[in-house]
């Protein structure tokens, strides 16, 4: 295993979905459009690092997670895991070793669990499918271990239960246990707490942080909530319309954002304590445009309160504005 330092590296990752044109367009030979869901992303995740991917709906954050878990195929760019190119690896048996190392936690635990399977079968599924256990005794042991690590104690009590017999928090723990069972090195968590009650969230976050602390597991935490990202992550990457606009340490992004979008996102987040260091930028108007019509130049310029001529013409590159702090804004340097 070559020690690259990073467990996962995305290089200029691109996911474009073709739009099915209408009958007229096809007859007239008009080119069908593309939805640029992810439009060139560079991101690295280190061993045992928690990286938060923050964005609104339509920013492409879920698609990035689906590419990493090989549920979606990128149209360009590379996906490197431990230095090995996994971009075009496909097929069940070829992906088996990768799936062993990379697992996913889903947002809606109720939807993610087949209501006709017992908790045991749900957690055992990856162990069986990836052929990681030799006999039933081992299987039971691994399932118990995963359930216990996800905070379902004693594990035996949950084996024969069905998802609808569990509370919302317990269901999310089952989803986590299913991902943990294979002892992965990287987990992609897509909004794992957004459907949960506030009082339960902290419990689930604690489980995730413990995994990193005890097993040095890396985590890509996908969320729309900037304070939550600050709470759990080492680094935060902010995504707007398929492109990273800013990336840096959690504290840098939270306390010293250099991109107007990050600032707007921070200011829009409701706060229970009025903090003095809020910027004087006016609130954003409108909503995220469709990824099928990405604006020319900086893709944020139509909504940016600070936009000037250059923003309408040229797309800004990611500029280093601090130690390991990049911002894609012409005003950043």
């Amino acid at each position: 295993m070559p020690d690259t330092g990073d467990i996962l590296r995305l290089e200029n990752l691109e996911v474009h979905f073709p739009i099915q044109g209408g009958l007229f367009d096809r007859v007239l030979g008009r080119p069908a459009g593309v939805v640029r869901a992810v439009d060139g992303i560079d991101l690295t995740i280190g061993h045992g690092e928690i990286v938060a991917l923050v964005g609104e709906s339509g920013s492409g954050k879920t698609t990035v997670g689906r590419v990493i878990t090989k549920l979606a195929q990128p149209t360009a760019g590379r996906l490197l895991f431990e230095g090995a190119d996994m971009t075009s690896v496909r097929g069940l048996s070829a992906l088996r070793p990768y799936r062993h190392h990379v697992q996913m936690i889903f947002q809606d635990a109720y939807q993610a669990l087949n209501s006709r399977h017992t908790v045991f079968d749900i957690v055992a599924e990856p162990l069986r499918s990836l052929r990681l256990v030799e006999n039933d005794a081992q299987l039971t042991e691994r399932v118990s271990e995963a359930l216990a690590a996800a905070g379902l104690n004693p594990p035996g009590d949950f084996f024969a239960r069905f998802p609808h017999e569990l509370s919302g928090g317990q269901r999310q723990r089952v989803v986590i246990a299913g991902a943990l069972a294979v002892r992965p090195e990287l987990i992609v968590a897509d909004e794992p707490v957004s459907m949960l009650d506030v009082s339960i969230r902290a419990q689930i976050l604690q489980v995730l942080v413990d995994l990193r602390d005890k097993h040095n597991m890396a985590l890509l935490f996908i969320t729309h909530d900037l304070p939550l990202a600050w709470l759990i992550a080492d680094r935060i990457a902010v995504l707007y319309l398929g492109k990273l606009v800013e990336i840096g340490s959690a504290d840098e992004i939270t306390f010293n954002p250099r991109h107007p979008y990050t600032v707007a996102l921070r200011d829009a987040t409701p706060q229970i304590h009025t903090d003095a260091d809020r910027s004087k930028l006016p609130a954003l108007q409108g909503e995220v445009p469709s990824a099928a019509r990405v604006p020319k130049g900086c893709r944020f310029h139509p909504r940016c309160p600070l936009a000037f001529d250059r923003c309408r013409q040229d797309e800004p590159p990611a500029i280093e504005v601090g130690p390991q702090h990049l911002s894609a804004c012409w005003l950043a340097n």
């Binding site: 062993h100 939807q111 599924e125 499918s129 006999n135 299987l139 069905f162």
Partner: protein, 310 residues
């Protein structure tokens, strides 16, 4: 590695099943259909004990076209056979044909529908065109085409899988003409099921496509398949009757349709022998109706908006 390594609480499953049964039998129609069907199944299971062996022209016990009486509860036919005897033996043939044809139809329909829906793209296009073809093929024409082929290949007197050739042909024809309906329903359900997150989860867990279809999609299709299966049986009874009535049945193993055909040819209608036409006719009506009632009740019970126990 065995699939069930944990002692499942069978108690829980039994409870869920009881709850389902209670809800299902809560429908008045389901009760009626269920009782009616059980009666016919008993008839079909032990005809010899109830009415003695099948009567033929040789061992007929009565006079010609006698109206119902104490001795012949449903009268006799034009060669003196007891109509009750014929109807009870006919139940066995009719129900066997209908149920086996439904099994073929459900297996083919579910396989085609699930494959088309799950894989999409070209598999979907081609399988659904095939389905469309079978959707519009008239069963009678197909039977006329297949019958001589089967008889030629297998020989007239030989049994095929324990069935006489003409009955085998009817089973196959009904099976082949009714699966398209099942395939369409299964496909549309599969299309929505495969977008569900638990299928994504299974993919990330490294589960194979076949396994996803069998363990994740099929169990969620069972309600639809069961409810529509009952309707397919009702249709199959009806098609069997019409095919036999048109003369494709086996005179040596008379089904209800064959009886109707014999009655019509014997001039039962003009002779006023209402019992001869009426007995098999009402049987067909009652059995199809019971299956329709059961199918509707199953559909109601499984309806996710009203379902309590998954």
């Amino acid at each position: 590695m065995s699939e069930s390594s944990v002692p499942y609480s069978t108690h829980r499953r039994v409870q869920a099943f009881k709850g389902f049964l209670r809800q299902f039998l809560g429908h008045g129609g389901a009760q009626l259909g269920f009782v009616c069907l059980v009666c016919f199944l008993v008839l079909a299971a032990v005809p010899n004990i109830l009415v003695g062996p099948l009567q033929t022209a040789v061992n007929a016990t009565g006079d010609f076209l006698v109206p119902p009486s104490g001795q012949h509860l449903l009268g006799t036919d034009e060669v003196g056979r007891d109509v009750l005897n014929l109807v009870v033996h006919g139940a066995r043939i009719s129900l066997t044909i209908a149920l086996l044809a439904t099994v073929i139809s459900l297996i083919v329909g579910a396989t085609v529908g699930m494959t088309a829906g799950y894989f999409g793209h070209w598999a979907d296009v081609w399988l659904m065109r095939l389905t469309d073809f079978f959707f519009v093929v008239p069963s009678f024409v197909l039977a006329l085409v297949i019958t001589p082929v089967v008889l030629e290949v297998m020989g007239r007197g030989r049994d095929i899988l324990g069935f006489r050739p003409s009955i085998f042909v009817i089973i196959v024809v009904i099976g082949l003409t009714s699966w398209a309906f099942v395939a369409r329903i299964v496909r549309s359900q599969t299309l929505s099921l495969k977008e569900r997150t638990f299928v994504d989860r299974a993919r990330v867990a490294g589960t194979s496509n076949l396994s996803i279809m069998l363990k994740h999609i099929l169990p969620n299709l069972v309600p639809q398949i069961a409810a529509n299966g009952a309707l397919v049986v009702a249709g199959a009874i009806y098609v069997e009757t019409s095919l036999s009535f048109l003369g494709l049945g086996d005179p040596l193993q008379p089904s209800w349709g064959t009886l109707l055909a014999l009655a019509q040819r014997a001039g039962a209608a003009s002779a006023g022998a209402w019992w001869y036409l009426g007995a098999p006719g009402i049987c067909v009506l009652m059995v199809s109706l019971s299956f329709v009632l059961i199918g509707n009740a199953l559909d109601d019970t499984f309806n996710p908006r009203r379902r309590v126990i998954p």
